[in-house]
Symmetry: C2
């Protein structure tokens, strides 16, 4: 008998990862990146109060974190005008998506997402044996009506929609999302990933009741709050679904210093405004750099700008590879036709200077290659 | 149709948690604990270098951690004289046990553990639909031969053994473990939880080859390294099993500051020695306090001492409740006959002073109650 005896599902899974980390790429190229603009991290950093809270908590790190995340959940409840019973805190949105899929999806259960949307969600669906159905983007936007129609057609248990979207940066108004939800098939849960919503125009967050049983909204401290490395995400949903996470989650899985940092971060409204304006300025600058190089920046409601390189996926990939070789960490969409683009996270002046300096050469080399 | 449509397995799971956290108990009693001696945390704290590393990483927390845990895995490999391919790092042993069970256990698959051993392992087995078979402790020790015999009898995919044991503090020599492994049934993986092994006498760690396909060993930075709140555990096993974790783990789930802290912690051999001697002194002190009160301290190879209260589970529970009411956070074994004991973590002088002061009254009140 062979060791170990994996489940048939585990045996069938590929050994792929959703993303290759920038550190891996740095090790491969033998040098650090000059600009880290590929993972939609917030280079503007977390609130100084959050940094201070993490430092303060460092000497208390011998204690497990509160498994109920009591203080953070209550602070989030006050912030959102909800009850703590509407909120689950977990190890980033990635962790929470894993728990959610585990609660809902077993072998062959249908799930719907957009072709080329967040791969980590797909990773979890595959990981629990679900069957993924996709619909295409429409004009570089996820298509809520098509997603929901597909969910009805296949009897989906879950339908995933990011608003604003990653990797395209596009968005819908919250009221458009609510309108589309009218057609959600009975028993299908909408997973509304609002990880970037704090970067978006007023009115982008879906105006839904937290007790609405038809959806769960995902939020995070990884993006505008600048704490990606802390791993703190949260879900907003009806109390029944929230408490179901207690059946499967890693109760003592939260880092204690991360809990403290997120709490401090949430209270620093001024820092949030500061980062929001930095993001706007950086988006404008990235758009200018793109246009200066004859490329088309797509409108963005996120902390990144997706740039249409004007040709096919192979060309965009060549541009990306050239940028990476020049020390600029960026990523690109996986699926056609979005993969004609590269995706550039907002950064500080120095980061964008480095990008601006590298882009013309990266384009030139890619154009030379595509002509041969 | 009702919302949401959970899987039949999720629907069947109870909404229980493996442990109630001390913060929850503090909120219930309306006051903080005077001594936190219930969760086998290391009150002696992490290495000052680890604290400094966490503080340094605080301002870099906007970056995701390295999903490969490259530096930590390579440092661990050097430390243990293994290859990085033998090591998986994850969100505490709890997180790693969850992934392991997910890889191996599906509906009805048999798993073996001891009656009253680590409940979080049982939580994961139940959470993936496994069937748990138990064997009793023998003289307050887990019984490797009985566990392995039971594994053969039921065709177990996994058999769990903690050495040293929690909650009893008892241990076997590593060579006894290896001898018992000779009877491991083909295809049964031994999960050897060595979370407390750095507190144990030389020779307690099982002298097995890392490439031995019959077992995985779990280690942690939560106990002697004093970083429970950081959530860093690791598994040592053959490369095939290690790489299987990549099929299901939360690749970006590690806290970046925790990675840095664990790395610094591992390098501070002096601090490890310091904590080991503090633990020995605290165990001796707890034993004296127990004997001064007419109770029997069990021998311990961990950072806690389990104290036989000399009567039944109800009596020990009364002692525990009285201690908790007096501000001393302790825990106790769940299962008979081990539940005649309370479990007291090593602490600093002040913590043990508080325990020493509270214990006589807690015992007196429990004895009065049991006489009525």
């Amino acid at each position: 008998m062979t060791y170990p005896r994996y489940t048939p599902l585990a045996e069938s899974l590929p050994a792929t990862v959703p993303f290759v980390g920038p550190e891996t790429q740095e090790r491969q190229r033998g040098a650090p990146f000059a600009a880290r603009l590929g993972a939609n991290e917030s280079i503007f950093g977390p609130s100084p109060h959050a940094i201070e809270a993490v430092k303060q908590a460092a000497s208390e790190i011998w204690m497990y974190g509160d498994p109920e995340n009591h203080d953070l959940r209550h602070a989030l409840a006050a912030y959102h005008g909800l009850r703590a019973e509407n909120i689950v805190v977990g190890e980033g949105v990635d962790g929470l998506l894993g728990y959610l899929v585990r609660l809902m999806v077993s072998s062959g259960d249908p799930v719907v997402t957009s072709q080329g949307a967040y791969p980590t969600f797909n990773y979890h669906v595959a990981g629990f044996g679900g069957t993924l159905h996709t619909v295409p983007y429409r004009d570089d936007h996820e298509d809520p009506r098509a997603l929901i129609a597909k969910a009805g057609e296949v009897g989906a248990k879950l339908v995933y929609l990011a608003n604003p979207d990653n990797p395209m940066g596009s968005w819908h108004t919250g009221s458009d999302i609510v309108a589309a939800m009218a057609d959600l098939p009975a028993g299908c849960l909408l997973v509304l990933d609002e990880a970037y919503v704090e970067c978006a125009p007023e009115g982008t967050a879906a105006p839904v009741e937290a007790d609405d049983p038809r959806l769960i909204r995902m939020r995070t401290f990884s993006k505008v709050y600048g704490m990606a490395g802390a791993r703190v995400g949260y879900g907003l949903a009806a109390p029944g679904l929230i408490s179901a996470f207690n059946k499967v989650r890693n109760h003592f899985g939260m880092n204690r210093a991360a809990q403290a940092g997120a709490l401090a971060s949430l209270r620093d409204i001024d820092w949030l405004s500061h980062v929001q304006s930095e993001i706007k300025a950086a988006r404008d600058r990235i758009a200018v750099i793109a246009r200066d190089n004859g490329l088309i920046p797509l409108p963005s409601a996120t902390n990144f700008v997706t740039i249409d390189c004007g040709q096919d996926g192979a060309f965009a990939k060549a541009v990306l590879d050239n940028l990476v070789a020049a020390g600029i960490f960026v990523r690109m969409p996986f699926a056609e036709p979005q993969n004609r683009c590269i995706r550039v996270s907002c950064g500080k002046s120095g980061d964008l200077d480095a990008f601006a300096a590298a882009l013309p050469r990266a384009l030139l080399a890619a154009r030379k290659r595509s002509q041969t």
